[in-house]
Amino acid sequence: MDTPLRIVLAKIGFDGHDRGLRVVARTLRDAGFEVIYLGLRQSTDNVVTVAEQEDADVIGLSMHNAGHLTLSRKMMSALDAADLDIPVVVGGIVPEQDVQPLLDAGVACILGPGASAEEVVAAMQQAATTV
């Protein structure tokens, strides 16, 4: 990597399961990414604001409450409203049946349970090149 990719990581809404997000944050940092860790209870608007200010290459959202369809659509429309084209990667408990609907909603990549460090890194790199 020439310039390290800048990744904003957050959980939006009430969901407090942050184990996955914390592991992903350290995995990415150790792999040479620049991680902007927002942590818990973020609004989609705040994620958009930070992503724009920090010139983020990718937004990573972690979801464990079965709210991924609703939340991902909210995130995509918040980005649209701000006229920003930053790829979004969703990780967490996403059943197979929901993968296509998420991709259709504009999510760049989905990391399911059990994704390895290599897969996490590859997903971010791949997402960053889709724009």
């Binding site: 709210g67 049946q97 460090a117």
Partner: protein
Amino acid sequence: MADESTARDQWQEALDRSTLRDADFETLSGVPVEPVYGGGPYPGQYPYTRGLHAAGYRSRLWTMRMFAGFGTAEDTNGRFKDILRNGGTGLSTAFDMPTLMGRDSDHEWSEGEVGRAGVAIDTLADMSDLFADIDLGRVSTSMTINGPANIVMAMYIAVGEQHGTSRAQLSGTIQNDILKEYQAQKEYIFPPRPSMRLVTDLMSFTAAELPRWHPISISGYHIREAGSTAAQELAFTLANGFAYVEAAVAAGLDIDDFAPRLSFFFNSHNDFFEEIGKLRAARRIWARWMKERYGARSEKSMMCRFHTQTSGASLTAQQPEINIARVAIQALAGVLGGTQSLHTDSFDEALALPTEHAARIALRTQQIIAHETGVASVADPLGGSAFVEEMTDEMERRAEEIFAHLDELGNGSMLEGAYAGIENGYFVGGIAESAYRFEQAVNAGRRIVVGVNDFTDGDNQSQDILRIDADVEDYQLKRLNQVKGERNDSQVAAALADLVAAAADPIVNTMPAMIRATQAMATEGEIVAALEGVFGTYVEAAVM
């Protein structure tokens, strides 16, 4: 060996006084088995390493308590009545995410969450629906909620009043363990100190008025699920227990008046002997600290009673059926560790909320352990095994190191140590570090997770998963609007003002004003907002 023979005689007397289950205590081949093997201290004897009761599971099996819930209050009420009709006496209530976070169903973040992971409670009207036509004096109700525990408790007391059930008759448990929220589960609302004031308000109130109520269940489960080691789970949980004891004593309660009502909740994970050692160590440590450090006199104050749940985080989305084997092994560890009650996870939990089919298999797993394996015939059957005793000692040593650190952080107060550890990131950082180390070991192939990083050939076909009907949310929003339309707004405002005044005065117990506010039909979100005006709102520092 006079001590040993006295201990043996005393154990025998206690056993003779116990009522035993109607069962044959012999092996499958007809070999009779003794109620206990090995030496003392025996089961039922301080420090209770070998269990709380002389007869172990011979007098009573563990309670098979399955936690579940989704949908509207009315739906859940129907399921409660089914349980009662089928001879059950214990009701377990799961709340949805907005309720757990102290927000109403019409909060902007509630969309998509209403009634999903549990029942939605906005006002006393919902609580009345939830327990409609149920005699609260004859059931034991468990409510798993923390940040807004006092509000939900106030509503439960108010429903009792509507039914004409006195407070003294109400029986059950509310989780109300706020410290582990800052450390692991993250369902906090107010900052730690005012939250502890609410905890001690409820402990004082129940000690005085609801003697059959367990006002707190001190929980390591979520600490472990967030990624801690077994020793961290053990140490953080018991340290939180010590903090609550110190807070309650500081609030003027006598230790022997409330300590017998404290209970614990542990995780049972994959490493079989480590888990058994952890559970045995928990009883020994609690007994010794309660007696020696806190001066408890009643034996009941020294007994660490706990519920156990198998580890949801250990289950894999890959080849989900193999989780049945994981759950069975973890459940067996919980039983061999001497748990009072047990929840077994469903094999599909790494994908979604459990289906009925998967939940039934989980319950059947407990029944197999209870009725087919013979492990319930002998108390503490692994006691005396060199490995198990060493694992118990080692868990205790590691926990004591952590206690010493917290004691120092708090200048001799475990309560101040807990606050300091929350503030300086000790708990969150320690848990995250352990979680990361585990993932690194899995990534490097040093730890095998079957189906994930090895033995991956298998059936990963799409699983049937549970979907929650979106109608629940529409129904709940209508219900909330209807209640708001029918209530007397000036009464609500007055009740909230009284609550704020009570909250602002540290020597006033907030529970009476809380009950009146719920009776005026103030919503959970309104009560939380009013209290946030006095207590503030907790925001976790975004440190990775």
